[in-house]
């Protein structure tokens, strides 16, 4: 009997230390703090702080390996007079607008096609996503080769197989041809993401809505216009926001295929910022270019998100 009591007190003694620790781990504020620490810590140090630092650098003449002094708006003033910067701004806007329209038109079409009852649907869906998962730079290298001035397969097909042209297409040699080639590559890469996300949206639409519309005598276009489109808006607005954001700040495709050439005519703001900032060493000026993307980004995000998501609020599903 006493034996047992002794054992009891021993085990209690032994467990008191861990118990305190365990109690601490069960104390909610501490636990919340501990759980959030790694994520919030990493994000604050490597995201929030650099964002602020970037804003600061834009107002300095920092170079790689040497701290800079505050020079006010000088970076922005010199960019204002820089025709290459304005070309890059124009290119970025044109690139984003055209590529987004292309991606969404083709992506929506592909999503509608995949929403039919077709054999091997999941296999096709898996294949369609491949351009999106393969490293962009590597598929860009493939496009670089497809756009080769001498050995382009597209030129070969148009010239030697279909006899539609007599000369090779110079895809990357002139500014406009290069811009359009880049946009085509960007659309190619963006279609899968748009299509698969919109397909997910389409699949949430209840078939009974279509049946009801059909009973009311709605034609296919009317069914699309009055059932599919409004039901798809919430998903569409999110996908559009992301798409615009990532197309606007695109770097890889342009860097891999043209590096901003011919003669700086296809630079996007991101590639110009890189060229000035890292190989050129002008961190301050590069940061100023990167910072000038922010207002565009905020505007584009607000427009695509609030412009299209309004319908969702009206339905009272804001907390979904």
């Amino acid at each position: 009997m006493a034996d047992i009591a002794q054992k009891w007190s021993v085990t209690r003694e032994a467990s008191r230390g861990p118990n305190l620790l365990a109690r601490l781990f069960d104390w909610k504020p501490f636990l919340v703090f501990l759980c959030l620490l790694p994520a919030i810590g990493l994000l604050v140090v490597f995201l929030t702080y650099p964002l602020g630092l970037g804003l600061w650098l834009a107002f300095t003449d920092t170079k790689i390996g040497r701290g800079g002094a505050f020079i006010g708006l000088e970076n922005f003033a010199s960019l204002w007079r820089d025709p290459i910067f304005w070309t890059a701004v124009g290119n970025t806007i044109f690139y984003t607008a055209t590529a987004t329209i292309g991606k969404f038109a083709l992506g929506l079409w592909l999503a509608l096609l995949l929403n039919h009852h077709i054999p091997f649907k999941s296999l096709i869906r898996a294949i369609v996503l491949v351009p999106w998962i393969v490293p962009t730079v590597l598929s860009a290298v493939a496009f670089w080769w497809i756009y080769d001035p001498q050995f382009s397969i597209i030129s070969y097909i148009l010239k030697d197989v279909l006899h539609l042209r007599s000369t090779n297409i110079d895809f990357l040699g002139t500014p406009w041809a290069a811009r359009i080639s880049l946009i085509a590559a960007n659309i190619w890469r963006g279609i899968p993401f748009v299509a698969i996300s919109l397909l997910a949206g389409l699949q949430t639409i209840s078939p009974s809505l279509y049946e009801a519309a059909m009973l009311d005598g709605a034609a296919p276009w009317q069914r699309f216009r009055h059932v599919t489109a409004p039901m798809l808006m919430p998903v569409l607005s999110v996908v559009l926001t992301f798409s615009v954001l990532f197309t606007f700040t695109d770097f890889q495709l342009v860097y891999a295929i043209t590096r901003g050439g011919p003669i700086n005519s296809t630079h996007l703001m991101a590639t110009l910022a890189f060229q000035r900032g890292i190989p050129g060493g002008q961190l301050g000026e590069g940061a100023a270019i990167a910072v000038s993307m922010i207002p565009f980004l905020i505007a584009a995000t607000l427009f695509s998100y609030f412009g299209l998501a309004r319908r969702k609020w009206q339905q009272g599903e804001a907390n979904d």
Binding site: I64, L114, I124, M214, V238
Partner: protein, 299 residues
Amino acid sequence: MTDAALSTKEPAAPERLGVISWESGPRKLVTVYLPLACFVIVLLFPFYWMTITTFKPNNELYNYKDFNPLFVHSPTLANVRKLFFETDYPQWLWTTMLIAVAATALSIFASVLAAYAIQRLRFRGANWVGLAIYLAYLVPPSILFIPLAAMVVKLGLFDSPLALILTYPTFLIPFCTWLLIGYFKSIPYELEECALIDGASRLQILRKITLPLAIPGLISAGIFAFTLSWNEFIYALAFIQSSEKKTLPVAVLTQLVQGDDYQWGALMAGALFGSIPVALFYSFFVDYYVSSLTGAVKE
């Protein structure tokens, strides 16, 4: 007369029968299968082209008159051999793998804890923390790489894989956290309440109940994070200088292109073998992939 009446009526009849029947037959061939085939061909063509260029000998590669460029006539492994034995390619593959695995592990660890805290500990302001993490995803790397480069230099991490392992979580954590919040939401809270009543501590609950149930979510987040780190380009380009420490996408673009004489065969081989690991990875987990992509969008 009756024939004509019948044939005019016919197109209207299937309309009434329901969703499936109005689009069957040859019409479906033109409106569905044909465009779908075009999409699949266009989306896959660059990979086909990449693959056959890899296995073409040089005389075929630059002679379209005698050899149809769409096929390989006498396949060769010369380009592959050149890539693996005359360049640092195996080293780049290894480095990329290492960085991707480390960044993924770090991000998953941080995201699981954060998602658990936000979704299950129900503290005041949890929604705001969740929103802040979501907003972090909207900050594109293109505006962060310059200040990050300055930071990396100052911390003495320039040209070190650690610079990438620490910076990749900035875009991985927001994504994984949101994915996992969604996943934790689907696990019944009652299970945790039972465990709490039985005297389990919060950490025990996380380890023994929530995590095992969330394994599919963890796999989704893991493969997404791995692919995103494998594909990352701009940070790797800006923070790494020496050839043997470069990640694969950067190395293919900067080390395999020498001067104006592009070795297209080797370049395409580099692109092909850089894509295969993610493609394989993807094919094993394709369902997780699709569900996490669409789940994240619907959130």
